[in-house]
């Protein structure tokens, strides 16, 4: 799959896309500066912020959001959107939990969870392409369907994965290790997963034919079709990646806090994921966005949330401020882009 030449050449040779690329790197630089300023401010105003414990906490707290934002980057660049990710996160995690409680081995239980996520993504993709429905509608419906299925299979009762729930002891300790363990006794496993997935996402998006096609499909449907790209298949794969990553995040979530509940787990997560991805520079109209930008966006949201709590700011203000940051980040980008273009 890795094909540096194919991925890079067409984008730099066409004038329009070259301009987009310059704008994007300016956008990333802007987000990066904003992040540094935020960190500097927090470092000065509260002692706790720069402590290694807090930084690792932040790293862990953004990981699940980050893993899903990697998937959302593909979907948004392909000019689609996925609102069902929070529900998929709940369904996959709870399903894996139920199987572990029923004494399944870890790997098959996780694979079923991931496959369920992939299936939701596949359905989203097919309905949004061959089914001719806008993905906003498809995934809005799917958000509700998947949440309902999660409630049905759990009967609304919390799924608790622990020794007294009947799970196998070895499976349990492996499961808890992927959610609660740490690498070298320091780096939380969730963060390790995020780093690996972000890296893979970056490779796929920036250096493979598939990544190039995702940009092409989102940048201009007709042009992509004329140049022989199977537009529908590219979009469906973007949704499948999103679904599997939502499932993975949900499984890691249950491995970290071994009790989930279908009515609450992952509710409202889709908005956080979309917000982080958009702050990082992806556009709802497609064709724009980078993996580096998304990671910066996720960091902004994570540091902001952590910082507001460390500063002891009222929870109602926290909600307000996060909303303002989303609007300001996108507004600054739009205004500077139109100035550059004009």
């Amino acid at each position: 799959m890795a094909n540096l030449g194919v991925a890079d050449t067409p984008r730099t040779t066409s004038g329009g896309q070259g301009r987009i690329r310059r704008a994007l790197s300016a956008r990333e630089a802007g987000v990066f500066v904003a992040l540094i300023l935020m960190c500097a401010f927090l470092a000065v105003s509260t002692d706790a912020f720069l402590s290694s414990r807090n930084l690792l906490n932040v790293g862990r707290q953004i990981s699940l959001l980050g893993i899903m934002a990697v998937g959302m980057t593909f979907v948004l660049i392909a000019a689609e959107v996925d609102l069902s990710v929070g529900s998929t996160y709940a369904l996959s995690g709870l399903m894996t939990g139920i199987l572990i409680v029923q004494q399944w081995a870890l790997l098959p239980a996780i694979l079923v969870g991931l496959a369920l996520g992939g299936l939701v993504g596949f359905l989203n993709g097919v309905l949004s392409t061959y089914g001719k429905l806008p993905s906003f509608i498809t995934t809005l419906g799917m958000m509700s369907i998947v949440r309902g299925v999660a409630l049905l299979i759990t009967n609304g009762e919390p799924v608790t994965v622990n020794a007294s729930s009947g799970a196998n002891g070895d499976t349990l300790s492996q499961f808890f290790w992927i959610g609660q363990g740490s690498l070298f006794g320091q780096i939380p496993m969730q963060l390790v997963f995020f780093i690996v997935i972000a890296f893979l996402g970056w490779i796929v998006l920036s250096f493979t034919t598939f990544g190039f096609r995702v940009y092409a499909v989102g940048g201009g449907l007709k042009a992509a079709r004329v140049s022989g790209i199977k537009v529908f298949s590219v979009k469906i794969w973007a949704f499948i990646i999103m679904g599997v990553l939502s499932g993975l995040a949900g499984i890691l979530s249950l491995a970290f806090l071994p009790s989930g509940q279908a009515g609450r787990t992952g509710v409202g997560l889709e908005l956080d994921v979309i917000a982080a991805t958009i702050v990082g520079g992806a556009s709802l109209s497609g064709g724009e966005g980078t993996m580096l930008g998304t990671i910066l966006g996720v960091l902004i949201i994570g540091v902001l949330r952590n910082g507001l709590i460390l500063l002891g700011i009222s929870p109602f203000w926290q909600t307000t401020i996060i909303g303002l940051v989303i609007i300001v980040a996108v507004a600054i980008d739009k205004w500077t882009t139109s100035r550059r273009a004009g």
Partner: protein
């Protein structure tokens, strides 16, 4: 036949008289709808709707179990309904739809203000309404079955003061600081803690309802306030999260957790000592009493508030429920 019919008629008249008397005592104007009077007279099974404020939360299965038990024991058609997710508009809309067919309604309100008008409307239409779990004091509901929330908050505050030995800094955690039940319990808890000059309530942490966010909020709040000696959780779901936090960071000796309810995760944390004490509110009984009160009322008996009580569990007595649940 003629004779029987006359007897029925007589019974109905007596019933109406008694009901009227009860209603007058409660409210001054409640009159049972004719359609329901006829139904009682004909001996058809009564249709009762129990509308819970979020049928997808942790408690819903327990309350539903109580409702189903009541339906079976009392021989009525009791249905457990309510919105998925605490959605006031959805709860009101559903009740509006059910109003025509209901012979009695029990309501646990998403929001006092939002639900009070529909409760009063149902009463004006002659459908008896009681409240359970979360009361609606702004409405003219006939009676309430559940925990006195302010009182349960006071109990939690007392427990906290007790495990801390009357000295220390406390943070309060809640899923939704602006919800009525949370405000009530917080009021009670702060009231109780205020009696101990050695105890300071540092802050109230609004954790949100998503499990990862709950844990992260507690983690961040503890980092911002490293001196904290006690975490007082006001509900089911930040209780196990606080316990997990204490257990994972080896703070069993320095940070005490007092919380609510008996989720499986909470039971385990009480056993391990990471949660010092938890207060149960007997959700099955709340569901049962909701139906029972309506059946009693429709049968002409007077109804008054039922306090479903406060059950306190610590490491010493948690084995009772741990065995029962497994």
């Amino acid at each position: 036949m003629q004779h029987l019919r006359r007897l029925h008629f007589g019974l109905v008249m007596i019933l109406i008289f008694v009901l009227g008397g009860v209603a007058m005592a409660q409210d001054g104007e409640f009159v049972l709808a004719e359609r329901i009077q006829e139904k009682i007279a004909s001996g058809e099974p009564l249709t009762i709707y129990v509308s819970y404020h979020d049928v997808s939360n942790e408690f819903a299965p327990f309350i539903r179990a109580g409702v189903e038990q009541a339906a079976e024991e009392l021989g009525v058609d009791a249905q457990f309904v309510g919105p998925v997710g605490a959605d006031a508009d959805a709860q009101v809309a559903e009740l509006e739809t059910l109003l025509e067919t209901a012979d009695g309604i029990a309501i646990s309100s998403v929001s006092t203000d939002a639900l009070a008008p529909i409760i009063d409307r149902a009463l004006e239409a002659g459908v008896p309404v009681v409240t359970f779990n979360t009361d609606n004091p702004e409405s003219n509901r006939l009676a309430f079955a559940g925990q006195d929330l302010v009182q349960s908050g006071r109990e939690a505050g007392e427990l906290m003061a007790d495990v801390l030995g009357g000295e220390g800094q406390v943070i309060i955690t809640t899923l939704d600081a602006a919800a009525q039940w949370s405000i009530d319990r917080e009021t009670g808890a702060r009231e109780a803690l205020a009696n101990y000059p050695g105890i300071e309530v540092v802050t109230t942490v609004n954790t949100g309802t998503e499990p990862q966010q709950i844990y992260a909020s507690i983690e961040n709040a503890m980092l911002a306030n490293p001196e904290v000696d006690g975490i007082l959780s006001l509900e089911c779901c930040s209780t196990p999260a606080a316990g997990e936090f204490v257990q994972r960071n080896n703070l069993l000796d320095s940070v005490k957790v007092v919380g609510f309810d008996l989720l499986p995760a909470t039971i385990e944390l009480v056993q391990s000592g990471a949660v010092a004490a938890t207060i149960d509110q007997a959700p099955e009984r709340q569901g049962f009493e909701a139906v029972n009160m309506l059946v009693m009322f429709l049968g002409g008996e007077p109804v008054s508030n039922v306090d479903t009580g406060v059950g306190i569990y610590t490491q010493e007595n948690i084995a009772d429920v741990a065995e029962a649940s497994s």
